[in-house]
Symmetry: C2
């Protein structure tokens, strides 16, 4: 007995440790997952509201389905109303509307075509019927699938093409007679109408999320992020961090990355926004395509900031006098560029042309000119402070050391000069953004 | 009568012109559209094959539906097989498989849960039943909708969550008894099994398009495009276009834009590729995530080329001697960088570590070192040719004019120096690509 005790003790200990490890790992993963979920919910409460809206819409439509005695007309077809709600309900109003319209129109077109083909097949004799039906399914399904590869169709009618194929094949291969089919089609269309109208109703009345507003918000937020990022980048480069903590600064610098990756979101939002009716300050037919151009202009600026950001890593070896002189000018350019971007962000946000914009742009251009001038006069600036020690040297050696000492070995100023050049390029690209905003405003 | 003739002549003329204009516009638009469609078909014949595959799969599954006497067991549920094929059949094998598995698993889970809830509701009395069902639909639909906002779920199980909501609400609100439900569920699962297995069969046997292969191809094509773009960019800058026409050169330069915009495609392909079984040279569990890292490394390089490209526009004002000297070195760096990228593209393409890579990288680094050295010795290079005229000047003024003439006013060399600096940065980023390829290979 005594011999066994320590052994079992080891086994138990091992088991306990094992359990701790497994359970600990599992629990920490579950906790981590829940924290992530919680963050998403707290970060964007509208997503939680969307989930409640979906639940609500489904409950209402299920009521139709469940209370069959009340709506006996729809029979088993009531299922299609539930299905429509599940498939069609999307986060933004534009996406829901686009799916609703696509679904309704495609169902109607494919149904009509299917009934027509059926009629032709019925009149061609029993032998030809399956052949005609098979060939028509093959042809129309292939053609509709191909249409989904065409970019313009893909962007707007992708879901419609899918529903077209679905409805057409269901109708044309069903064994029903044409009269039965018409009744079936009528029932199905009315259930789909119930589903879609319920979706539109719920999505537009309870806390609607408009794709247009989202696009608008995304663009002006990206503009602000770009402004902060540019400013933080230059400030970090010249180590003039002021009263910002290192962490804050780093976070701000990373802002341009959001701009780099927002192309796909912008495109899908702009595609949905064009389906939306007038809402808030946006009319039907608002120039959403201009937002894409503006987004592209912001991205070209972000590419430059990305390159500028890689300059930060390299040490500045330039002589302090050059560094200080150019540094001041660079900070000036970046702060004025930031002001232009922030002004444009306000213009976009308020949708009012700001009188200050032209003034800000002029300020920025003047700062760029100053920076250029500072660059032009750089050698003489360098000569000035260095020429003092040369006085102590014998006059015959005077010129020699100056000419060598005054030429800043280009490798030393290379990162600085590159940064300056990129800054000038960024200012030029901000000019492109100003143009895009003006085009949008007009 | 005579009075009328000229007038009607005018009307007719006007009408004819109007008709020409309208018809001409319409015809040219239709022709333009068909040309675009034709180009898509000719450009990627696999897309046409995909369309034929969809048509084929639908014809086969319609056969099940049409020949009802043969498969009377399935009854009206055969519709679900057609539906499954339409909804699940995607362009790549990975996408189809992911949808099939999502659909099957989600239907099974939601069906089981729905039957369970139904059983509980049946045992809670007639008054409680609709309340329990309603609350459960609300809760599960909301939770599943929320799960679609979690990025990891969204990437892999988005379709599964949708089908879960659909099946759960259909099952739980259907008025059937549990025994009937079980029979229905069994039938529906078997029709879905028919649909999914047919899809998998058709998509994998006839000219399969593997998402993994597509991703692989996209990455090495992007690498080649980047290489061509870099080379063409530098060649264009130094106007050393060799035997390439201007048009060819411009087309090559634009190659980097494909790389900038391929993030979304890469991510979706890598998500699909992980569902694919072993095919060709790719095993199940191939490190597809590494491809995303490689793609990101390519993109950072593309950002730099984008910035470099904007330097092309600005005129080189640098003195010819500097320009020539640096130009040769720059062309050398770009041609060696291009060689490294092309070698890496071959490595990726053949999936074999090339023995030449290290050699090519060493060559590139040496070229970069030479460029740096050329920059370092730049002032003395400039002094050399200019020091000849100074001999003719009086000795006391000797140093003065040299020191001024030899300092190249920095504004003149600014674009050149920036281009050089960007080229060095690009070479550094290519080093990052080399690392990513090595990580992938190991």
């Amino acid at each position: 007995w005594k011999n066994l005790e320590p052994e079992s003790g080891i086994v138990v200990k091992f088991w306990l440790r094992f359990k701790c490890l497994i359970l600990g790992g599992l629990i920490s993963r579950v906790v981590g997952f829940w924290e992530k979920v919680w963050d998403i919910g707290v970060g964007e409460p509208r997503k939680v509201i969307h989930c409640i809206k979906v639940g609500l819409a489904l409950c209402i439509v299920s009521f139709f389905y469940y209370m069959r005695p009340l709506y006996d007309d729809f029979g088993g077809n009531a299922m299609w109303a539930v299905m429509t709600v599940v498939v069609v309900f999307e986060y933004t109003v534009g996406a829901t509307l686009s799916k609703c319209i696509n679904r309704a129109v495609a169902t109607f077109l494919a149904g009509a075509l299917g009934v027509g083909i059926h009629w032709v097949a019925d009149h061609s004799g029993n032998e030809m019927k399956p052949i005609i039906l098979g060939i028509s399914v093959f042809l129309f399904a292939s053609a509709a699938t191909f249409s989904r590869f065409i970019p313009t169709v893909k962007a707007r009618f992708d879901y419609g093409a899918l529903i077209f194929i679905l409805t057409f094949s269901l109708v044309s291969v069903s064994g029903f007679r044409v009269v039965e089919l018409l009744e079936l089609a009528q029932q199905r269309l009315s259930t789909i109408a119930i589903g879609t109208s319920l979706c539109i109703f719920v999505t537009m009345l309870f806390c609607p999320v408009w794709a247009g507003c989202e696009l608008h918000r995304l663009i002006h937020q990206n503009m602000e992020k770009l402004a902060d990022s540019l400013d933080a980048c230059v400030v970090e480069y010249f180590k003039d961090s002021g009263n910002l903590s290192e962490e804050d600064l780093n976070k701000k610098i990373q802002g341009y990355k959001c701009v780099l990756n927002s192309k796909a979101t912008e495109e899908s939002l702009s595609n949905f926004a064009r389906w939306e009716p007038t809402h808030g300050r946006f009319n039907f037919g608002h120039p959403w395509k201009q937002y894409l151009k503006l987004g592209a202009a912001l991205r070209t600026c972000a590419y430059c900031i990305e390159t500028l950001n890689s300059c930060i890593g390299s040490e500045i070896q330039a002589p302090p006098c050059i560094r200080e002189n150019l540094g001041d000018k660079c900070l000036k350019v970046s702060s004025y560029s930031t002001k232009v971007l922030k002004e444009l962000a306000i213009t976009i946000k308020k949708m009012q042309k700001s009188s200050k914009t032209d003034f800000r742009v002029a300020e920025m251009n003047f700062a760029v000119k100053e920076l250029r001038d500072a660059l032009k006069s750089l050698p003489s600036h360098v000569i000035a402070p260095l020429s003092i020690p040369t006085i102590e040297q014998p006059p015959e050696g005077k010129a020699g050391p100056i000419s060598i000492a005054t030429v800043p070995p280009i490798m030393k100023v290379l990162p600085l000069v590159t940064a300056v050049s990129l800054l000038i390029e960024i200012a030029a690209r901000i000019g492109g953004i100003v143009d895009a905003v003006e085009e949008l405003a007009s």
